[in-house]
């Protein structure tokens, strides 16, 4: 296998190492391909499909985060066909979930002239906030199912496997086994999931309580363990 491949991205020829994803190849060519679920330290799963690009001759659009560059490929990162898919995906996402705390997605909505009211009054995912531990809350009405939390909990980082999927299709949600509380699960409260959540669906408990208008002293009282002794200074 040759070490490099040469392809054309938006009319510009570029040579990249074999195995380079179209996302990285586009970046090298100076074309910014938008992503939502992609995280450089997580396995790419091509879920959000916002990164789709048109590869000439292909039947459907290709997800740039996982599709690899091939010799002679001609790629269009932003034409009318690509824009329609990206705009519609953003409109669909906005119609179903609360992405008010996802500034990057808000910018993408603007960039693609997405109509935030496109679907009008439609079914939304509005599960109740789960407040079952002193470390963080889970507000799945803000969850966009990017899978990052599940992956860092599993083989991408922690190998704890505390969370996974429940439900199917539109009703898919992130859950513990049998929806038991996190304290009953194998969760070790490492916080990796909170760190990679892009929408504020997973949020540190103290941050959340402060947002609710609680006084800092009350927040500390509510989240600090009881009777923890100060180690005496020597």
């Amino acid at each position: 296998m040759p070490a490099t491949v040469t392809l054309e991205i938006d009319g510009q020829p570029i040579t990249v190492p074999t195995g380079t994803t179209l996302l990285n190849a586009a970046a090298l060519a100076g074309a910014m391909v938008p992503t939502i679920c992609y995280h450089e330290h997580c396995t790419a799963n091509a879920l959000c499909r916002l990164c789709v690009v048109e590869v000439e001759g292909a039947r459907v659009l290709a997800p740039a985060c996982v599709a690899t560059a091939a010799e002679g490929m001609r790629v269009h990162t932003r034409n009318e066909r690509v824009e329609r898919s990206r705009r519609t995906i953003l409109e669909l996402l906005h119609s179903a979930t609360d992405i008010s705390e996802a500034p990057e997605i808000q910018l993408q909505l603007d960039d693609y002239h997405a109509n935030r009211e496109r679907f009008g009054n439609c079914e939304q995912r509005e599960p109740e906030i789960i407040d079952d531990n002193p470390m963080f809350i889970r507000d799945y009405s803000k969850c966009i199912l990017c899978w990052r939390c599940v992956q860092v909990c599993a083989a991408d980082a922690q190998f704890t496997y505390a969370i996974n999927f429940s439900g199917r299709g539109f009703e898919t949600s992130i859950s513990t086994f049998f929806e038991q509380s996190l304290t009953e699960s194998s969760c070790v409260f490492c916080g990796q999931c909170v760190g990679v959540c892009p929408t504020g669906a997973l949020k540190p408990k103290r941050e959340w309580l402060l947002e609710q208008g609680q006084a800092p002293a009350d927040v500390l009282a509510a989240t600090r363990g009881p009777g923890k002794k100060q180690r005496a200074r020597k």
Partner: protein, 468 residues
């Protein structure tokens, strides 16, 4: 207790029910549940057509036992392959035959087998995709129920050609009857020396394990099917890698539809040249069509490629019943609509492609002029919203929005711009979804928009029926 059931694969005998794992068809409307439960087994399926190669043992009401199958020439293709042909010779014959997959994607079977045979690694698998869940399809059920050994022989030949030692036969949960017959056939084949070690005195060893689905349409998608066999949630995988290099358990895998595999013994027995005597140059052989809906004789029809829709519909299935032809749903829920204008389209891959119709799995679902197409579309959209796995955004969200819009269209409350909205959602699902489910979840809707734009007009009255 009576429950509303999802697809039972009994469109040829609608309205149908499953009572204590027994399939019952042609139930008169209005019959109380207790009466249905006391009924005897469904009638044997109507099997017809101008060619009876694949279906020559089907529709008789009996399932051939091993001795009957062997006496009728069964397992002679396997014997011929093992005793006279090399694995490469089997693949060459298959490639020469021009056989392409019958599950819907029409991929050349010989090329697929060759790719798996050439893949590195000693451990390889053959998977028979018998998760026939496309609404309107029942061909594989009839093949499995009426000729189970032919399915096994096809898998054995695939195993021999590709160097696989193990096969999985993944049958949907809604087919308990087919599962029983296959399990019995597998047991017979082991006892008769057609499965197991050193088959027919050769070094070839092959095992077949029967697996049951659990009711998910997505598990008919080949990579989701692998996940299911592996004991995981049925999410489709990102391709590439393709199954022939990294499939089931990460090993090179050939996954074929039931009808595809049933073609293989015929090709090996008679030879590619004889097989090519039927059908057309680009679509050789015969094809099974599942006729259902408003036709006089719903059933399974085998025809050589190249006959017209009119021939199948009028001459074989007895024509449209209950009125005049309004629409034909081609290829199932994941298919597209045709009208009377398409009656003379020849049933070949090349002609159908030209007519922008998918052959799919061979579904021909007929709607007469009294049927409300808006309601039909709503039903199809409901199916996809129900069956989307939730992995990729376009399908997870798009199928639900499509259903919502088509629900209001069917209720006569279409809004201005709904047609455009359906097009955008539909094309986004088609273009950007991860797997075939999402990519075809809007093809029927998009074809309806093209054929009957007036159905989606704002303030369009909910008519009892659409008159073209």
């Amino acid at each position: 207790m009576v429950e509303r059931s999802p697809c039972l694969g009994l469109c040829d005998q609608a309205p149908a029910a499953m009572v204590n794992d027994q399939a019952l068809g042609s139930i008169p409307v209005g019959v109380p549940a207790a009466v249905i439960a006391s009924k005897s087994l469904a009638k044997p399926a109507v099997v017809g057509g101008s060619l009876r190669h694949l279906t020559r043992r089907c529709g008789t009401g009996t399932t051939p036992v091993l001795a009957t199958y062997v006496a009728d020439g069964g397992y002679s293709a396997l014997t011929k392959a093992i005793q006279q042909l090399t694995p490469a010779g089997v693949i060459a014959e298959l490639k020469a035959s021009g056989l392409v997959g019958r599950g819907g994607a029409a991929f050349p079977t010989g090329v697929k087998w060759e790719s798996a045979a050439n893949a590195s690694g000693a451990e390889k698998y053959i998977v028979c995709n018998a998760d026939e869940s496309e609404p309107g399809t029942f061909k594989d059920r009839i093949l499995m129920e009426d000729d189970p050994h032919a399915v096994l022989e096809g898998m054995l030949l695939a195993g021999y050609a590709c160097g696989a030692q193990r096969g999985y036969l993944y049958v949907r949960a809604e087919y308990p009857h087919a599962q029983q017959r296959l399990a019995a056939a597998i047991a017979e084949a082991y006892a008769g020396g057609y499965l197991g070690s050193n088959l027919l005195g050769s070094k070839f060893c092959f095992e077949i394990e029967l697996r049951s689905g659990a009711g998910a349409y997505i598990c008919g998608e080949e990579t989701a099917l692998f996940e299911s066999i592996e004991g995981k949630r049925g999410f489709p995988r990102v391709k590439p890698p393709f199954p022939t290099t990294a499939g089931l358990f990460g090993k090179p895998t050939v996954v074929n539809n039931v009808e595809t595999l049933c073609n293989v013994p015929l090709i090996i027995s008679a030879g590619a040249a004889a097989y090519r005597q039927h059908g057309t140059e680009k679509s050789p052989g015969s094809k099974l069509f599942c006729l259902s809906g408003d036709v006089a004789r719903p059933g399974l029809y085998e025809v050589p490629f190249g006959v017209t829709l009119r021939t199948i519909l009028d001459e074989m299935a007895g024509g449209v019943s209950g009125g005049t032809l309004q629409a034909v749903l081609f290829g199932g829920a994941a298919g597209a609509f045709a009208t009377a204008a398409h009656l003379d389209v020849r049933m070949t891959f090349e002609d159908l492609r030209k007519a922008d119709l998918p052959l799919g799995s061979g579904v021909v679902m007929v709607f007469n002029h009294t049927r409300n197409l808006r309601t039909v579309l709503e039903g199809l959209a409901h199916f996809f919203a129900e069956e989307s796995c939730g992995k990729c955004y376009p399908c997870q969200l798009g199928t639900v929005r499509q259903h919502e819009i088509l629900t209001r269209v069917a209720a006569g409350h279409a809004r201005a711009g709904d047609s455009q909205l359906l097009s955008d959602v539909g094309w986004t699902m088609l273009d950007a979804s991860l797997c075939g489910l999402g990519q075809t979840a809007a093809t029927a809707t998009l074809s309806a928009i093209k054929l009957w734009p007036e159905l989606f007009a704002a303030n369009g009255k909910a008519q009892p029926a659409h008159t073209p």
